[in-house]
Symmetry: C2
Subunit: 376 residues, 2 copies
């Protein structure tokens, strides 16, 4: 674990601005700001980017909260953002670049882009609602996320790259009239790809029209959003790295990632039967431990047939703190013995009172560490 | 961290019993059981006891669930059990002894003992309800917890010590008639001590009447339960170590532990003003980080003027996973800088969706480790 606490004082005379969220623009366009004090969050793990703090406040996104208010399955939000960070890391390494929440697309812009194109909203990236034939045309674009990557240059930090994530619906939910029943418009994988790539080109062109974004690399990544009843988020399926000045995507890199819920539903299968069996064995061992049955489920992510990681969730009723301690210690052995090796695994243990303990094994580690939550 | 996976097979022919919770008695009275397979949970940390597993099932307490069903402030349960373990550790070290949930006091026994003494319940340890004068007499005893400590001896494990915790009310809640208003009977500290010690002597005598408990050391610990509106549990104030055969407590050791909630309410004070200031500084730094205000509180435990540990709870609204990552990394720095050193500290970060991340610094460690919960 590498610890860096870089404190960059853009101006020694930095004054603490009283207004919250009043982060100044960065000096990437050559202007200098005399009253902004820029600091970084520090880094707890080399896998995370440091974030930008301006005048003591976290510099929040200019389009903060748009996804939270518009996307109904919250798993699609976390999965989208985490996946986007992973794609960014391929291009912008965490030890060279600093993360800044998107500062170039405002709430208004993102809301307009996510809306349907119309006379009153000419920048809408979703098609108009119905064709002449009366057939419903689904909304394709569901989320836009901007991540800015900065580098330090003497006393300044400046923009050195941008990643844009575009989340495309696999199902569009709509009603024919107010208070009418919710209908589902399924969107085929072929359409998700086609529409996603078309939207990406339009977005890239628009970004290049902004002076600050003309000459930085822009990564665009495409995500297929999961349905509202899914217990895992969707998945990224392609991304493009667009060098300075490029206004058209010339090359897409495929991403072969997919998420699964364990235990696998009957009739379906995981990419790796061994992992499926391993999880089932673990589950039955754990459920045998207490007289009261524990709920044991997991989210698993695969790249092709390779397990990227697993989040196991165990819910059970505890009658004492000593039961929680014994159960957690038992889990550490059982997880080690039964769960797939070589992939990072998190296990959270919950009761109706919330989280009680958790165990974790990181990439490359052999043993699980555990933590039992205490109360005085 | 010491890892021990002791698997003690009491009988090689151990059969897996299908009935849950059907743990056989241990062979402490010299009888041998041919069908019980005893295993231990393993140990994730040298500060925890290994627990006893019988035939694949955790050996639950014979009075399992009594406290959960009878005590209204759940903080009193966790704090009571954790505190009792800490007292047990003074007498029965975690690397020599194995923990077994109480097997000698059954649900029926504990329920009767916790009830008032009456013609139909002669073993009740609480006084009859009213004096001749009509004055209400409070219930003193609120919880009884039994912890058994075993040692391995060849292929067997046998009972080598017992700890009994007795929780005494500081407030007894009652109604004069069904559906009447809840009234509070406050019990003075002097009464809590006096009544607790008297009950302890009666309990010790009763335990010695059981053949299996005649010749093992019995630790009895007294806990003062917090009121129902408290945001921390109560505290242990005394314990006694009673050698084999002793039927009367000859000596009490005082415990000077107390729990506090930070920020300290106006008019009250913490045992150490520096800690109070440290927490207040940390709180205002953290609340300055986001435009939306975070709730920052803590439980703190003191032995005299020395901080034993702190559980900080931060609740805030997040708009993205990147905000959670940046906030957690920032907290690691801020906690290190502002919070009191030398004591173990846990910090949990919650949103309305539950826990998002947590940070922890153990006894003797200099730095906080952190974990950010992920989702696929």
């Amino acid at each position: 674990m590498k610890k860096v606490w870089m404190a960059i004082s853009v101006a020694l005379m930095g004054m603490l601005l009283a207004a919250c969220g009043s982060a100044d623009n960065l000096n990437d366009s050559g202007k200098s700001s005399n009253s902004t004090k820029t600091e970084l969050t520090g880094q707890t793990d080399s896998g995370y980017y440091q974030g930008v703090i301006k005048n003591g406040h976290y510099q929040t996104s200019k389009s903060r909260g748009v996804s939270v208010s518009q996307v109904s399955n919250q798993l699609n939000i976390k999965s989208f953002e985490n996946g986007l960070l992973n794609i960014s890391k391929k291009e912008f390494s965490t030890n060279k670049y600093v993360f800044q929440e998107g500062q170039y697309l405002s709430t208004g812009t993102v809301e307009n882009w996510l809306d349907r194109k119309s006379k009153s909203n000419p920048t809408g990236l979703n098609p108009t609602k119905t064709k002449k034939s009366g057939t419903y045309v689904p909304n394709y674009l569901s989320q836009i996320s901007e991540q800015d990557f900065m580098t330090a240059n003497g006393q300044k930090i400046s923009l050195s790259g941008v990643t844009i994530g575009l989340a495309i619906n696999s199902v569009d939910y709509y009603t024919k009239k107010t208070d009418g029943p919710t209908l589902e418009a399924n969107i085929s994988d072929a359409q998700v790809k086609k529409q996603g790539k078309a939207i990406a080109n339009r977005v890239l062109k628009r970004l290049r029209a902004k002076k600050s974004l003309k000459n930085v690399p822009i990564v665009i990544a495409l995500y297929k959003q999961a349905s509202d009843d899914s217990l895992v988020g969707g998945n990224f399926f392609a991304y493009s790295v667009n060098d300075s000045g490029k206004t058209k995507v010339s090359n897409w890199t495929n991403v072969n990632e997919k998420n699964y819920v364990f235990p696998i539903q009957s009739g379906k299968s995981a990419p790796n039967k061994n992992d499926e069996d391993a999880f089932d064995n673990f589950k039955s061992q754990v459920q045998n431990f207490f007289p009261n049955l524990s709920g044991v489920t997991a989210q698993a992510q695969y790249s092709g047939n390779t397990l990227n990681g697993m989040n196991v969730s165990i819910t059970t009723q505890f009658y004492s703190q000593t039961e929680i301690i014994s159960f957690t210690q038992y889990l550490q052995q059982a997880a080690q013995k039964y769960l797939p090796g070589n992939a990072p695994i998190d296990i959270t243990v919950q009761s109706t009172d919330g989280i009680q303990s958790f165990l974790s094994r990181k990439t490359g580690e052999k043993n699980f560490t555990s933590h039992i939550f205490n109360s005085y």
